[in-house]
Symmetry: C2
């Protein structure tokens, strides 16, 4: 009744921003992402009546700290979904450990809930179709629907729970791009993504962004299928700027950028003017992802580290789907 | 046949971005600004058949440098308008000197063309109504229509040349706010404003911005008439972020910000959390304007100078209308 899974975070080229149903994490548009190999979360889940006997509740320890408040509620609600599926009434113990800073706009909730879905279902002895695992992971965090698959993934928006799931466009070994994650802050971001999704509609840019997504999706799909880094990078940058255009014009505004965020974006453009293939994208946070080729990665990663305010980089390759392991966190 | 005028730049709280007619600088929405006293341009204009006798053309020296290319063409076209009005066929000599860095998003073309309109009309012996002077200044640079007046100014969009003019909402002494201009770069910006106006329509945020301007105009007018700095600052920040949301999502994108731009914006928000009344706005460029009270100006100006990447500040008060003087630049 105990299982451990490791799942990768993902970076979205066409973003998820703004929800049709905030409770079920039904998005307003499809999104497309790449699952990452070096930004992962290890999650152990155990269901047992003996868990938390003294306190009478689930025991949840994320990144070495007892989860509290809304984060705890969110995990308990997710465990309730899993219990409902299996008919279990057991309390659960959950522990997680990530290889990258969480809550800083690097999709840590994607890897956490994808890992929790896979480990939790295994711990409960449930074997489900990947599509169903994806819808379940989505209930924890929208973008977790994508991290249930490795490689290049599209999440179909859908209009109700069972129709909003991700599917793989191409596997991890389809195209060896690199994603250099640039850490400029390890502080939790000021506005969590869930609040950001809710505020999105107050932006005058919201409708325009939504109207752009169909074209962006087509461009991103084609870029992936034809392994065209310039095309993928161009749409990824446009989507990132549009996401931040929306978030900085909500009421109240959310500006996720730090000075170093802008410095990184400008360095990427400077490289392109010199002929180096590098493209940025960023989710709702100050940290930046820089897409480049395997050959250019050393130069790009070294150059990024030299920028004022950059703390470190994490060089990622396309990652596989979540895997179950037998080394548990407790 | 020689006259010199000094005109102030202005800072717009509701912005001009996107043109109905790019040639005539007819905007798509009304805008509201404050004319500044410490960011001014001195312009001397002389009309005479003896000017440029050797070269047979207008002699234009802006900020100590012979004007060339598109800038020169723009000034010559403006001089042609003035000549047409007066029936003059004389060549002109123009010189300008500003107290602040030009072409960096500080509305230097506003003070230049407002000064050139006032000096040029005087040099030609033409006495026109202020409204007409405003429409003429507009032909040089849209925002120059506003700098023809001192204090708090609204520019009526209009749909044809003679109906697109500014008028004063309140004079300079109506409300003693301070505008601390924060210089983070003296480099000419990458995309000139005229190109930015043209590109604006390609942004998915364009329609949303335009739809917001009526509400923003009402808020800004009311804030000025009731001397409500919080209300004015709030709309000024929203307008600034919206302008940059549009410009960073055009095709191709124009990101005017530097790392220090973001640092200044974040410092302003930090001050507000501490109860200091400070609000930012910025036009199409990296330099920032910080609105505050006379009492808080020393603290704000000193604090801004301490930010990494800030070169200097210029503390402005509301400025008067252009004035003719008798000390000429040549």
């Amino acid at each position: 009744m105990k299982a451990t899974a490791q799942a990768g975070a993902n970076i979205a080229f066409v973003k998820y921003w703004g929800a049709l149903d905030a409770e079920l994490h039904l998005p307003l548009n499809n999104s497309i992402s790449l699952t990452l190999d070096q930004a992962t979360t290890l999650v152990t889940v155990e269901f047992s009546p003996h868990v938390g006997e003294d306190v009478g509740e689930d025991v949840i320890e994320l990144e070495g700290r007892r989860a509290e408040g809304r984060l705890r509620e969110r995990v308990v609600r997710f465990l309730d979904h899993l219990r409902r599926l299996s008919g279990s009434r057991d309390r659960a113990r959950v522990a997680s450990q990530s290889t990258f800073p969480v809550a800083t706009g690097l999709a840590s909730s994607a890897s956490l809930f994808a890992g929790m879905a896979v480990a939790g279902l295994a711990a409960l002895g449930l074997a489900l179709e990947p599509r169903e695992v994806s819808t379940i992971a989505r209930l924890g965090s929208g973008s977790a629907a994508r991290s249930v698959f490795g490689g290049w993934v599209e999440w179909v928006a859908g209009g109700r729970h069972e129709d909003s799931y991700a599917y793989p466009l191409k596997p991890a070994d389809w195209w060896p791009v690199r994603d250099v994650i640039v850490i400029v802050s390890q502080e939790p971001k000021e506005m969590p993504s869930l609040a950001g999704h809710a505020a999105a509609r107050t932006s005058p840019c919201f409708a325009g962004r939504l109207a752009s997504t169909s074209e962006h999706l087509a461009l991103a799909r084609t870029a992936i299928l034809t392994r065209d880094l310039e095309a993928l990078g161009t749409v990824a940058e446009a989507e990132a700027l549009l996401l931040h255009a929306v978030s900085m014009t909500t009421d109240p505004p959310a500006l996720y950028w730090l000075p170093a965020t802008v410095a990184v974006m400008r360095q990427v453009w400077a490289w392109r003017r010199e002929g180096v293939p590098a493209y940025f994208t960023l989710d709702a946070g100050p940290n930046v992802h820089v897409l480049t080729t395997p050959e250019d990665t050393p130069r790009v990663a070294t150059g990024l580290c030299a920028i004022d305010g950059v703390q470190r980089t994490i060089v990622c390759q396309p990652g596989g789907p979540p895997v179950l392991g037998d080394v548990h966190l407790f």
